[in-house]
């Protein structure tokens, strides 16, 4: 089992919120994602067993949504918004800045497996542009100093 007993319990709790088990697909995928950091076939299979829905339906839903990486990523998944409001305030050069700082290109993971850098569509933080999401947290009104500090802190923590 990849999913921990806690995750399984959370999924089962979610199942109770809907009249049909199928509705628990997205919550289950989400719970699995936050536990594991990505999704894969093995996870679909486990979810399929827990909520008793054919695996194909799990995979169909999972691949529709772009928030869940389907392959392992670094410990910190840096997602920079490149949509219009952020772009108007320099999202592209923020990405470039991060690329240089981390020594990787967009889409890549650092060799120590600490950071993966990607850019994403609007995250609903347009009035605090430019911004990025790292794992489950938003970092807004970014400046170079802020970015430096954020990365420093994360490296320290790791």
């Amino acid at each position: 089992m990849i999913l921990t007993p806690e995750s399984v319990a959370k999924i089962k709790e979610k199942m109770g919120k809907y009249p049909h088990h199928k509705s628990a697909i997205l919550p289950a995928i989400t719970i699995a994602y936050w536990q594991v950091g990505h999704l894969n076939e093995e996870i679909y299979k486990e979810i399929s067993k827990i909520i008793n829905i054919p695996i194909v339906e799990i995979a169909e839903a999972a691949t529709f949504y772009t928030m869940f990486p389907k392959e392992p990523v670094g410990k910190y998944l840096i997602q920079v918004c490149h949509n219009i409001s952020c772009a108007l305030l320099g999202a592209d050069s923020l990405i470039e800045y991060l690329e240089n700082k981390l020594g990787i290109k967009k889409g890549e993971t650092t060799s120590d497996n600490l950071f993966t850098l990607i850019s994403v569509e609007c995250l609903g933080s347009c009035a605090s542009a430019p911004m990025m999401q790292i794992n489950d947290k938003y970092y807004e009104n970014l400046t170079r100093e802020k970015v430096d500090k954020i990365l420093e802190d994360m490296k320290k923590q790791a």
């Binding site: 695996i55 169909e60 691949t63 772009t66």
Partner: protein
């Protein structure tokens, strides 16, 4: 305008039409003969309005509307051919084509591709798209980027236009979950479920409904271009559902079979056995010449020599010992003419009533008039299942026995909301849509039925016109609680089912092989008769004791059994001016007689009793004792091996004829090709023998057909079952603790009888024997998939690789009989109501 609320009048292209409420604009236009192009629309699927090629203009609506998903409204004024419509459709085609490979010359759908046809019709010859087309498999220039999704299915995603018909049909109609839609936007892909193959029994329908060449099947790929193939109307020769087929041939070879939609029966879907089963006609190892046993060896011979020998021997035995010493078994997958000729030959030439088409049932009745026979002659219509609000399936692994009836049941449940109750000794695929899937202890069905009857009575839900006051004394068990104890089904569930039966307005009862093959067939039939009377099913709905093979119903109607109904006998006498007065023997009695050396010869056509009869040793012993055995078949078999004369038989694709399906529906099929490899159809073989014996029984097939017509006109004796309750007393089986696990021998999902293993495509789904057990049982025996399992009964032992079932969940073992190197029936005993075995792991 709306009339009475149920009809709607609207105008399409200047003409008025009135249609029932709920009709779509597309359907209304179709009725008027107006062509509207479609891709994602399918008559049997819920519309999704995705492809948008079916645009029409509707007055007062500024936007183009998709006709497939727009319901007709009173007073609507629709235009299907305005400039705006044409422009809209052309734009859609342009969009579809931008990333389409346009590899028509190498695409197998060429000639029957909706995209090709529509593009042609819209005169699109140039594209404004000047980028590289998106390729689903990158780094390859060619479009031959095919991916195999299943044993018979190839996918080319680049050609896919995302109409989703395959996935929709798979889930909506077939209830299968082995195919899906993944990713999104213009990266959307159709693919097999993770870790799975697309290999359901209905998988062949997916390429068939694909409007382009995205899904194709291995069978037909790159063999013939459609426009060079000829189409022949045929009927499936396997199960009794009677699906309508088209056989595609070129130069006396068949290349594929496809569905020929008949809404009364198949609604345009066929199972893979029907789709690929024709390949037995092309199989390489067909028998090619008659064989005659010389010494201990069968040597090739000629038709003349073989027919001469058969005629001489049969005449000799008949003259010396009487026709009663000759037995005849014929396969119920043969056409009416052959079945009839067989019966007529035995009865009028050999003067024997020893004819039977039931070669794999235990302990058949010995005389006419059993309850089972009456129940089996009741009317049943596949389409009428849809009228039911409750479907009760008893003793049937429905998908295996009747794939297309299964789809109709699914439809009635999933689309119209009927409830389904299944009563079986093990779990089946119908479980996912059952209101309650009742899995009773094997061998206790009559107790369960008694329980339901008692519950109906005690809940006062029994039919009002039936006197049930004595039922308690006729039944054992006669309380719900004792029935519950015996069967292992809780009282609540028995009561709930009884309640549902009592409340239902229209019931379809389907009874399957479990009852028919059982030696307690008669007792079970009486129990079921009680149930139909007490629950009033005989008055609200239909009862289907469904026959199994393509022409079983025909064989029954023509009296190809030792004791036909008096009416039938009367008619035979009238036509033939003769009818033998000896008592006929049923198939199993013939074998017993042979074993006791009371039978000298046997004529077997298309059947394989040594393999099929549910007591392998018994059948083998009997048949080996015969002095003279003639077997006609397509392939060598366990039974042909023992024969003195072996005759190459034609498959149904090689001659014209008729089948009667389980509904009693007579259906004609044409000859697709000539008899192959020097084979002959059965009626022809029989005709030649009778000529050789100087007793020709027909001059032409027409004559046969005319006589058949007369017989078919004979009504079954008082068709309805008697309104009399019968006594049903359950007696406990003694179960040896050593041999306690129920064994069920069935056909593999993709096989039917002993021929289909020779069909290449069907063999691709699996051609190795296996034994299925539940995951719990596997764990107990410490077996992993494909490890070896020893299965022992009191009379035999076999070793098979194990398959851990996703469906089975109780202590049983299910063995598919189709490809066992050792026939599975050596484990079976003809008198046992449940064959029981012990299981153990084979340590290597």
């Amino acid at each position: 305008m709306a009339d009475g609320g149920n009809n709607i009048t609207l105008t399409i292209d200047g003409r008025e039409i009135t249609v029932p409420k709920g009709t779509t604009v597309l359907e209304a236009a179709k009725k008027m003969g107006i062509e509207i192009p479609t891709f994602c629309w399918h008559p049997k699927l819920k519309p999704v309005g995705a492809c948008r090629i079916c645009y029409v203009e509707i007055e007062k609506m500024p936007k183009l509307q998709v006709s497939c998903a727009t319901e007709c409204m009173p007073g609507m004024v629709v235009h299907t051919d305005t400039e705006k419509v044409k422009q809209g459709r052309k734009a859609i085609l342009e969009f579809i084509l931008i990333n389409h490979p346009l590899d028509c010359p190498t695409c197998d759908k060429g000639g029957e591709c909706d995209l090709q046809d529509n593009t042609f019709a819209h005169g699109i010859d140039d594209s404004r798209f000047d980028f590289n087309k998106y390729r689903f498999i990158k780094d390859r220039k060619s479009t031959f980027d095919d991916v195999r999704l299943g044993p018979e299915i190839i996918r080319n995603q680049n050609r896919c236009i995302l109409c989703y018909k395959c996935v929709r049909a798979n889930k909506e109609i077939f209830g299968e979950y082995d195919l899906g839609v993944f990713q999104r936007g213009n990266l959307t892909e159709i693919d097999a479920a993770p870790g799975q193959q697309v290999d359901s029994l209905y998988s062949g329908n997916l390429p068939e409904i694909c409007p382009v060449g995205a899904l194709t099947n291995t069978d037909w790929r790159y063999k013939v271009r459609v426009w060079k193939a000829q189409q022949v109307k045929s009927i499936c020769g396997y199960c009794a559902d009677g699906c309508n087929l088209t056989l595609w041939k070129r130069r006396d070879k068949i290349f594929r079979s496809s569905s020929r939609r008949n809404d009364e029966i198949d609604e345009g879907w066929i199972c893979d056995i029907g789709r690929y089963g024709y390949q037995i006609a092309n199989a390489e190892n067909r028998l090619t010449t008659p064989l005659i046993k010389k010494g201990n060896k069968q040597v090739t011979s000629t038709w003349d020599e073989a027919i001469g020998l058969i005629a001489r021997k049969f005449k000799e035995i008949k003259d010396k010992k009487g026709g009663v010493c000759i037995g005849g078994m014929i396969s119920p997958t043969l056409d009416l003419a052959s079945l009839y000729a067989f019966s007529k030959y035995f009865r009028t030439v050999l003067h024997s009533n020893n004819v039977d088409f039931r070669n794999d049932y235990k302990m058949l009745a010995e005389k006419y008039g059993d309850t089972f026979g009456k129940m089996a002659s009741l009317e049943f219509k596949i389409a009428d299942i849809e009228k039911s609000d409750l479907i009760l399936v008893i003793g049937s692994n429905l998908i295996k026995e009747h794939p297309i009836v299964n789809l109709r049941v699914r439809k009635t449940v999933t689309k119209f909301g009927a409830s389904l109750y299944t009563l079986n000794p093990f779990a089946t695929k119908s479980g996912d849509i059952s209101t309650d899937e009742i899995i009773f202890n094997a061998g206790t069905l009559e107790a369960l039925i008694n329980g339901i009857c008692v519950s109906l009575i005690s809940q006062k839900l029994n039919a009002s016109d039936v006197d049930v006051s004595n039922f308690g004394s006729m039944a054992n068990p006669n309380t719900v609680s004792s029935a519950s104890k015996i069967t292992g089904i809780s009282e609540e569930r028995i009561n709930a089912l009884a309640m549902a039966l009592g409340k239902a307005k229209n019931i379809t009862l389907i009874v399957g092989e479990y009852i028919k093959a059982s030696p307690l067939r008669e007792l079970l039939s009486i129990a079921l008769n009680n149930l139909t009377i007490i629950a009033g099913i005989n008055k609200k709905g239909q009862i289907g004791f469904l026959y199994k093979s393509a022409n079983s119903k025909g064989a029954e109607k023509l009296g190809v059994i030792p004791y036909p109904s008096p009416n039938l006998i009367g008619k035979m006498k009238e036509i033939w001016k003769y009818y033998p007065d000896s008592n006929g023997l049923a198939a199993d009695r013939m074998i017993r007689a042979a074993k006791k050396e009371e039978m000298d010869a046997m004529f077997v056509i298309g059947a394989n009793p040594i393999w099929a009869y549910p007591d392998g040793q018994f059948a083998k012993d009997g048949i080996e004792k015969l002095d003279f055995l003639v077997v006609a078949d397509l392939f060598e078999s366990e039974t042909t091996e023992k024969a003195d004369v072996v005759l190459p038989l034609s498959s149904w694709a090689e001659y014209a004829g008729d089948f009667i399906n389980l509904e009693g529906r007579l259906q004609h099929f044409s000859a697709a090709i000539k008899p192959q490899n020097g084979s002959l159809p059965a009626f022809d073989i029989i005709g030649r023998i009778t000529v050789e014996m100087d007793k020709p029984i027909f001059e032409s097939v027409e004559q046969l057909n005319n006589e058949i017509k007369l017989l078919l006109a004979v009504l079954p004796e008082k068709a309805a079952q008697s309104l009399k309750l019968g006594e049903v007393k359950y007696s406990e089986e003694k179960i040896s603790p050593d041999f306690s696990i129920p064994l069920f021998v069935t056909d593999d999902l993709h096989h039917y009888g002993h021929h289909t293993k020779e069909a290449k495509s069907l063999a691709a789904f699996g051609s190795e024997p296996y034994a299925e057990i539940s995951p719990a049982m596997a764990e107990k025996l410490q077996l992993e998939n494909t490890e070896m399992l020893r299965i022992e009964s009191e009379v035999g032992k076999i070793i098979l690789p194990v398959r851990i079932s996703e469906i089975l969940d109780n202590n049983v073992v299910v063995i598919s009989r189709n490809f066992a190197t050792t026939p599975v029936n050596i484990l079976q005993m003809r008198k046992k109501r449940i064959d029981r075995v012990k299981l153990s792991k084979v340590e290597d």
